[in-house]
Amino acid sequence: MTKISLTVNGTARSGDVEPRTLLVEFLRNHLGLTGTHVGCDTSQCGACTIHLNGKPVKSCTILAVQADGQQLTTIEGVAPTAQQGGDALHPMQAAFKECHGLQCGFCTPGMVMSALGIVERHKNDQLTEAIVRHELEGNLCRCTGYQGIVNAVLMGAKNMGVRVA
C-alpha cells in the first residue's frame, strides 16, 4: 500500500491505496465522493471527468498515486457553499437544470466539469455554440442528444460572465 495525500474540493484528504487503484475508485470508494461516475472505464465517455490542478481529466485513466500532492475538484466541490452543506447550485449546474441539459443524469457530473473547463479556456474570448459542441467531444450522453447540454453550457458560461455569441 502507498500513502497518498491530496487536496479534494479544498480539503486535505489522505488514504492508503494500492498503486493500481484508479483515481476514480479512490474518490468513490475511499472518500465516498460518488458524484464522479464510471461510465465506460475506457477513457471515452467522460462521466468520470474531474479537475486536476484546474484542468479537466478523466479520473478512470489516472492512478490514485499519480494524484498524490495534487489539487482536485469533483462535482461535489463546484457549488460555492457545497462544503458548508449549502444546497445552492453553481451557475453551470443551475443552467443544466434550467435548460433540461440532462435526462438520466449519469453523464451530467462529467458534462459540468468539462463545461467548466470550456469556460476556463474561453473566459477571455467569445464562446460560440460551435466551440461548445467541439470541445464536448470527450463526453458522451446516451439518453437523448446534446441540444439541451449545449444550451446549458452556453447559458452557464454567460451567467459566469463569459461573452457568448
Binding site: 498503486p19 478523466k58 485513466t61 473547463g117 470550456i118 470541445e135 467531444e137 470527450g138
Partner: protein, 264 residues
Amino acid sequence: MHAFTYHRPTSVADAVAKRSADDDASYLAGGMTLIPTLKQRLAQPTQVFDLAGLADLKGIVVTDGAVTIGAMTCHADVALSADVRRVIPALSDLAGTIGDPQVRNRGTIGGSLANCDPSADYPAAVLGLGATIHTNTRQISGDDFFKGLFETALKPGELIVKVSFPISKRAAYMKFPNPASRYAVVGVMVAENAQGVRVAVTGAGACAFRLSAMETALSKSFSVAAIKDIAVPADDLNNDMHATAEYRAHLVGVMARRAVAAIA
C-alpha cells in the same frame, strides 16, 4: 489490473538507472495508453516509474530555428501555446486534434512517440516536419526513429527527453479521424522546410512513413495538381474494422491534397 510497485524518480539519470535495471519495468508518462493497457492486462510491469515529477522534461522553447518540446509536455500545452501557433501552426493544429480535451490534458509528446501507435498523430509531425528526438544518450533523426508497429529506435530503458522541430516555411496536417477515438484512420503532414518538401503519413501503415513520390512532385510544383494523379499502393497498409487498406490508400491521397491546398 495486475499489481506493480510505483516509483517517482528524482531525476532523468535516476529514472534511467532504475528502469534499465529491470527489464520488466515501465516508464509512465501521461498514461493515456499505458493505463488502458494495464486495465486490459496486456502489460504486466513489475515496477512503474512515473516521470511526472521531472520538471526538466517539461516545457516549450522557441528559438530562431526550432521549437523544442519537453517529452512530458502535454498535448494541450502544445495545442494552446501562442509560441507554437506563431511559428509552426500545423503543429498546434495537430496537437489539438489528439483525443479530446481531457486526454490532451494528460497525454504527452514523449509518451506518444515512445509508444509508436500506428494511428497516433505525433509521428506524422516528427517525420513530416523533420524533427530530431533527443534521448538521455543521443539524438535520433525522425527519419530513423519509427521502426514498425509499436516499435521505435529506442533501446530498452532509453528515455526521450525532448523533441526539436525545425521551423518550416509552410506546413499543414490533415486527418481523417476515427469518429469515436479521434485516432487517425489516416493523417498526412505536408511541410516545406530548408531541406525541401516532406510528406508524412500516419494511421495507414505499421508506423508513420514518407511518400517520396509526392515529395518529388511537390518539389517541382507545390500544387494540388502535381499530386492528384499519384496513386498510393494499398499493399502494405493497415486493414481492420475501421477501414480497408484500399480505403486508407484513397484517404492518403485525399488528406495529402487537402494539406497541400491549405498552404499552396
